[in-house]
Amino acid sequence: MGNKQTVFTHEQLEAYQDNPFRQRIAQVFSEDGDGHMTLDNFLDMFSVMSEMAPRDLKAYYAFKIYDFNEDDYICMWDLEQTVTKLTRGELSAEEVSLVCEKVLDEADGDHDGRLSLDDFQNMILRAPDFLSTFHIRI
C-alpha cells in the first residue's frame, strides 16, 4: 500500500489467478454481475477488501461471494461449490456432502436448510481469523 504504484505488472496480475473465488469476486463487485468492472466497482472491491473495512461490511460481501446462485441464501449447492473450489475436488462426494451437512448443522440458525445472511453473519462474527484472511493487500 505504501509504495506508489500506478501500473500493475504482469506478475501482480498473475498473482491473483490463484484465488478459487476470483470469478465470484468479479461478479459480485461488477455492476451487472457479468464480471466486468468499472473503475468505481474496482474501487468498491478494494475498499471492501482493505484492512480498514469493518467486519460487518466484509461479512456482507463474503456472503455474496459464497452465494453462488445469487438467491440471497447459501444453499446446499453453494456449499458444495465452495468445498470443491477450496479443495480442487480432492474430496470424495460423500466427504463433500458430509462437510456441507455439518456446516448447515452448525450455522443454520432457523433450520430451513440454507444459510441466510443472518446465520452467516452470526457465524462469521465469531470466526477468529476471518478478518485476517478476508483482505487483499496491494
Binding site: M1, E14, A15, D18, N19, P20, F21, D40, D44, S47, M49, S50, E51, M52, A53, P54, D56, L57, Y60, Y61, A62, Y66, D72, L79, T82, V83, L86, T87, R88, E90, L91, E95, L98, V99, K102, V103, E106, A107, G109, D110, H111, D112, S116, L117, D118, F120, Q121, M123, I124, L125, R126, A127, P128, D129, F130, T133, F134, H135, I136, R137
Partner: protein
C-alpha cells in the same frame, strides 16, 4: 410561525436520522432539505462574520459618528463566536446584535452584488430565512433566546452526525459513486459549519492525528510481518503441515522450540564458562590436567582417537577435567569454579522454568477458545482461504492444507459418531495392554540379564567385540523392534489416532526409560570403581613428585626444573569419563537417526519409486510402499536426547554446542526427508491443540535427568586432580567458600540461618499449603467457567429456536410484500446486521434477547413498513415545505429591504 418551523425541523431531522442510517436512496434530498433549513442560523453566524469586516471598514471610513458603541458590540460578538461561547449574556443584546448583523450582511451584499453572483444565489435562501425570523424574534424575546440555543445545539448535533457519517462511510455497502457524493456533501457541510462553532481549529490537529494513526497501523503491520519473517523455518513447517497434517508439523514445531531452548543453554554455558576459560585461564600444556599424558601422546591426534573424544579432545575445554581449581582467573578475577557451579544449576533452573511456563501458556490457550468448537466446519469452509495468497506455490500448499484439514475434521467427526461393540473393544484393549506389559517386562529382564553378563565379561580378559558391546547392541535392537511391535498391538485397540499416538508415546517412553536407567546404572558402577581406585593413584602421584624433587644424584646448587606436566601420573577423572560417555552417546544417536532416515526412508522410497516399473507387483500400493513419518519415535528420540544433554552438560560443557549443531542439521535433514520420501498417514489427524503431552514427557525426563546429576553433585567427592572443584570434599563446597571469602560476615550468618532445617521445613510446608489453596481455587474457577459456558450454550439454543419461529414469520411477511425489490430487502437485512453488536458484547445481546424474543422480530417487522412509508411519503412532505418557504422568502425580502435602509439613515 417559529413553532411551526421548529416542529418541521425536528420532523425532518428525525426522518433524516432514520433514513441516513437505513441508507435508503431518499437520503440525499432529505438531508439537503434539512441542510438548507439548518443553514439559517449558521449562515447567520457565518455571514455575520463575513459581513463584519467590511462593515467595520465602512464604519471606519465613512461613518465615524456611529463608530464606537457599535464596534465594541461587533468585537465582543466576534470574540464570543471565536471562543465558541454560545451563551448570550442578555436577550436584548443578542437581539440587537442580530439585527445589526443582519443589517451589515445585507449592506455588504448590497455593495457587492455583481461580483459574486453565484454566492448571492446561494445565500439568498439563507438571507431569506434570516429575514423571516426577524419578526418572530421581535415578537417574543424569550422565544428568540431558546431558538438560537436550540438551533446551535442542533447544528452541533448535525455536524457530529455528519462527522460520524464520514468516519463510518466505509461501513456502508453503497457503490462508490454514491459514497463519493455523500462524502463530499458531508465534508462540505462540516467544513462550513464547524468553523462557526469554533471547532475548526482542531481540524489540522485531527488530520495530523489521523495520519499518524494510519502510519502507526501500517508500522505495526510491517512490524508484525517482520516478526513473522523472523520466526525460523516457518515456511518449511507450513509446507509440511499442508501436506502431512498438523500432527507431523507438531513434531517440527517441537523441534524448533527445543532448538531455541538449546540456544539459550548454549549461550549460558559458552558465555559464562567456556569463553572465560579459553580467554583467561591457564593455557594448554601448563599444568597436568591440561596436558595429554605421555603414554597417549603419539596417538592423540589420530582421527579414530579424536572420534572417540579421547586424546586432544579429552584434554580440552569441552570437558570438566580441563578446568583448573584456581579461585579466580585473569585480570577480571573471574571466579570460574563458582561460575561453573552456578551455570550447571541454572541450566536446570532455566529448563524447568521454560518447560513449565510453556505448558502453562499452552493450557491457557486451549481454554480460551472454547466457543470455536461450535463452528469447526463453517470456519474451515468460509475463513480458511487466505485472500492474501498471491503465489501459485503457496496457493497449492493452501489447497493441500485445506484438504488435509477437512480430512482431519472428517476423521474426528466420524470418530465421534461411530457406534461399536463396547464389550469387544474393552476386551481387545485389555488384551493389548496385557501384551504390551509383557513386552516391557521381557525387555526389562533382557536388559538386566545383559548388564549382569557384561559385568562378568568386564572381569574377564580378552573378550570378543560382541561380548564387549553386547549391552549396546541389545538395547538398540530393542529400540528398533519394540515400537513397531507396539504399534501392531495397538491396532487391536482401535483408538482414535490422536489418542493412539499418546498411548504409543507412553509405551515407548517406558521402554526408553528402562534403557536409559540401565545405562545410568552401568555408568554409576564405573564411577564407583574409579572412585575406589582414586586413593591409590593419589598416593602414587604424591610419591612420584616427592621422589622427583628429593632424589639424590642431582646437583643441589641448581634447582631442579619442574617435572613436565605430561609425565605427572594422574587419576582417572571420573567426571570427564562420564562427560565423554554422554558425548559419544549423543553423537552415535545422531548418526543412527540419520542413517535410519537415509536407509529406511530415502532408499526405500527410491527403490519403491524406480523399481516399480520392473517389478511383479505394485510396490507403491503393495508391500514395501513408502514410509510414513514416525511421529512417536521421533518425538521420543528428541526428548531422550535432550535428557542426555541435561545430564551430561555438567560434566561436558561442550555437549550443548554439539546438540545445537545436531538439532540444526536434523531440522533441515528431516524436513527434506519428510518432503522427499514419506507419505502422509493413512488417516490424517489433527494434533491436539496444545502439545502439552510432549511437554509433560519432557518435564518427566528433565526431572529424571536431574536426579543422577544432583546425586553426583551432592554425595560423590570430586576427583583430586581435575576439574574446577578438585581438592574440595564436595562440589557444593564452592558456594560455602565464596560466601566465606567474598561476602561480608553477616551475610554468611544469614546464609547459615537460612540453611537451618528449622526454617526450611516450615517453608516447604507453606509451599504445599499454597499449592493446595491455589489448586482448589483454580478448580472452582474452572467449574464456574464450565457452568457459564453451559449457560451460553443454552441461551444460544433458545435463540436458535426463537429465530426459527421468527424466520418463518418474516418469510411469510416478505412473501406478502413481494412487490418490494430484492435490493430493498437486502438493505434492510444489512441495517439489521449493522445494528448488531460485535462479538465482544455477544453475551449481553444474548441476555437481552433471551427474555424478550419478540423485540427483535418486532423491530424487523416494523422496520419494513416504516421505511416503505418513508419512501412513499417523501414527495408530499417535500411539498408543504417548499410551500412554506415561499411566503417566508417574501417576508424575508421585505424585511431585508427595511433593514438595509436603516443603516443608511
Amino acid at each position: 410561525m417559529s413553532r411551526q418551523l421548529k416542529g418541521l425541523g425536528e420532523e425532518a431531522g428525525g426522518a433524516v436520522r432514520g433514513s441516513s442510517r437505513s441508507g435508503s436512496p431518499g437520503t440525499d434530498d432529505r438531508s439537503e432539505r434539512r441542510l438548507s433549513r439548518k443553514q439559517a442560523p449558521k449562515a447567520e453566524g457565518a455571514a455575520g462574520r463575513r459581513g463584519a469586516l467590511p462593515g467595520q471598514k465602512e464604519q471606519a471610513r465613512g461613518s465615524p459618528r456611529a463608530g464606537s458603541p457599535r464596534r465594541k458590540q461587533v468585537e465582543s460578538r466576534r470574540h464570543r463566536e471565536e471562543l465558541g461561547v454560545q451563551e448570550r449574556s442578555t436577550v436584548e443584546r443578542t437581539r440587537e446584535g442580530r439585527r445589526k448583523r443582519n443589517g451589515r450582511t445585507s449592506l455588504k451584499e448590497q455593495r457587492t452584488p455583481p461580483k459574486k453572483e453565484k454566492e448571492v444565489s446561494k445565500k439568498e435562501t439563507q438571507k431569506q430565512r434570516k429575514k423571516h425570523r426577524l419578526p418572530s424574534l421581535a415578537s417574543s424575546t424569550s422565544g428568540g433566546e431558546s431558538l438560537s440555543e436550540e438551533e446551535l445545539a442542533k447544528i452541533l448535533e448535525q455536524v457530529e452526525e455528519k462527522k460520524k457519517l464520514i468516519t463510518t462511510m466505509r461501513n456502508k455497502p453503497w457503490p462508490m459513486a454514491k459514497k463519493l457524493t455523500e462524502l463530499r456533501e458531508a465534508q462540505e457541510f462540516v467544513e462550513k459549519y464547524e468553523g462557526a462553532l469554533g471547532k475548526g481549529k482542531g481540524k489540522r490537529l485531527y488530520a495530523y492525528r489521523m495520519q499518524m494513526t494510519k502510519k502507526w497501523i501500517k508500522f505495526k503491520r510491517d512490524f508484525d510481518n517482520f516478526k513473522n519473517q523472523c520466526i525460523p523455518w516457518e515456511m518449511k513447517i507450513k509446507d509440511i503441515e499442508s501436506h502431512f497434517g498438523s500432527s507431523v508439523a507438531s513434531y517440527f514445531i517441537f523441534l524448533r522450540w527445543m532448538y531455541g531452548v538449546n540456544l539459550v543453554l548454549f549461550g549460558l554455558i559458552f558465555g559464562l564458562v567456556i569463553i572465560p576459560e579459553v580467554l583467561m585461564g591457564m593455557p594448554y600444556g601448563s599444568i597436568p590436567r591440561k596436558t595429554v599424558p605421555r603414554a597417549e601422546e603419539e596417538k592423540a591426534m589420530d582421527f579414530s582417537v579424536l572420534w572417540d573424544f579421547e586424546g586432544y579432545m579429552k584434554y580440552s575445554a569441552l570437558f570438566y577435567g580441563y578446568y583448573n581449581d584456581q579461585r579466580t582467573i585473569g585480570w577480571l578475577r573471574y571466579r570460574l569454579p563458582m561460575a561453573y557451579f552456578m551455570v550447571g544449576i541454572s541450566v536446570f533452573g532455566y529448563s524447568l522454568m521454560i518447560v513449565i511456563r510453556s505448558m502453562a501458556s499452552n493450557t491457557q490457550g486451549s481454554t480460551s477458545d472454547g466457543e470455536s468448537d461450535n463452528f469447526t466446519f463453517s470456519f474451515k469452509m468460509f475463513t480458511s482461504w487466505d485472500y492474501l495468497i498471491g503465489n501459485s506455490e503457496t496457493a497449492d500448499n493452501k489447497y493441500a492444507s485445506i484438504t488435509t484439514s477437512f480430512k482431519e475434521s472428517i476423521v474426528d467427526e466420524q470418530e465421534s459418531s461411530k457406534e461399536e461393540n463396547i464389550h469387544l473393544t474393552r476386551f481387545l484393549r485389555v488384551l493389548a495392554n496385557f501384551l504390551i506389559i509383557c513386552c516391557l517386562c521381557g525387555s526389562g529382564y533382557l536388559i538386566y540379564f545383559v548388564v549382569k553378563r557384561s559385568q562378568e565379561f568386564s572381569k574377564m580378559q580378552n573378550v570378543s567385540w560382541y561380548e564387549r558391546n553386547e549391552v549396546e547392541i541389545v538395547m538398540s535392537l530393542l529400540g528398533m523392534f519394540c515400537p513397531p511391535l507396539f504399534e501392531t498391538i495397538a491396532a487391536l485397540e482401535n483408538y482414535h489416532p490422536r489418542i493412539g499416538l499418546k498411548w504409543q508415546l507412553g509405551r515407548i517412553f517406558a521402554l526408553f526409560l528402562g534403557n536409559l536407567y540401565t545405562f545410568l546404572l552401568a555408568l554409576m558402577d564405573d564411577v564407583h570403581l574409579k572412585l575406589s581406585n582414586e586413593e591409590t593413584i593419589k598416593n602414587i602421584t604424591h610419591w612420584t613428585l616427592f621422589n622427583y624433587y628429593n632424589s639424590s644424584g642431582w646437583n643441589e646448587s641448581v634447582p631442579r626444573p619442574p617435572l613436565h606436566p605430561a609425565d605427572v601420573p594422574r587419576g582417572s577423572c571420573w567426571e570427564t569419563a562420564v562427560g565423554i560417555e554422554f558425548m559419544r552417546l549423543t553423537v552415535s544417536d545422531m548418526l543412527v537417526t540419520y542413517i535410519t532416515i537415509l536407509l529406511g526412508d530415502f532408499l526405500r522410497a527410491c527403490f519403491v519409486r524406480f523399481m516399480n516399473y520392473c517389478w511383479c507387483w505394485d510396490l507403491e500400493a503393495g508391500f514395501p510402499s513408502y514410509a510414513e513419518f514416525d511421529i512417536s519415535g521421533n518425538v521420543l528420540g528428541l526428548i531422550f536426547n535432550q535428557g542426555m544433554i541435561w545430564m551430561g552438560s555438567f560434566y561436558a560443557p561442550g555437549l550443548v554446542g554439539v546438540n545445537v549443531l545436531r538439532l540444526l542439521t536434523s531440522m533441515y535433514f528431516q524436513c527434506w526427508a519428510v518432503m522427499s520420501s514419506n507419505v502422509p498417514h493413512e488417516r490424517v489427524f489433527k494434533a491436539s491443540r496444545s502439545n502439552n503431552f510432549y511437554m509433560g514427557l519432557l518435564l518427566l525426563v528433565l526431572f529424571l535427568s536431574l536426579l543422577p546429576v544432583a546425586y553426583t553433585i551432592m554425595s560423590l567427592p570430586p576427583s583430586f586432580d581435575c576439574g574446577p572443584f578438585s581438592g574440595k570434599n564436595r562440589m557444593y563446597d564452592v558456594i560455602q567458600e565464596t560466601v566465606e571469602n567474598d561476602f561480608p560476615t553477616f551475610l554468611g550468618k544469614v546464609f547459615a540461618f537460612l540453611a537451618n532445617p528449622g526454617l526450611i521445613i516450615p517453608a516447604i510446608l507453606l509451599m504445599f499449603l499454597a499449592i493446595y489453596y491455589l489448586n482448589s481455587v483454580s478448580k472452582s474457577l474452572s467449574r464456574a467457567n464450565a457452568q457459564l459456558r453451559k449457560k451460553i450454550q443454552a441461551l444460544r439454543e433458545v435463540e436458535k429456536s426463537h429465530k426459527s419461529v421468527k424466520g418463518r414469520a418474516t418469510a411469510r411477511d416478505s412473501e406478502d410484500t413481494a412487490k418490494d425489490s430484492s435490493k430493498n430487502a437486502t438493505q434492510l437485512q444489512l441495517t439489521k446486521a449493522g445494528t448488531m453488536p460485535h462479538s465482544a458484547s455477544q453475551i449481553q445481546t444474548l441476555d437481552m434477547k433471551a427474555p424478550g424474543p419478540g423485540t427483535s422480530s418486532s423491530t424487523s417487522r416494523t422496520a419494513l413498513p416504516t421505511s416503505r412509508h418513508l419512501l412513499v411519503s417523501r414527495p408530499p412532505s417535500n411539498r408543504p415545505d417548499s410551500g412554506q418557504a415561499r411566503p417566508q422568502t417574501h417576508a424575508g425580502r421585505s424585511a431585508s429591504r427595511k433593514s438595509t435602509q436603516r443603516p443608511s439613515h
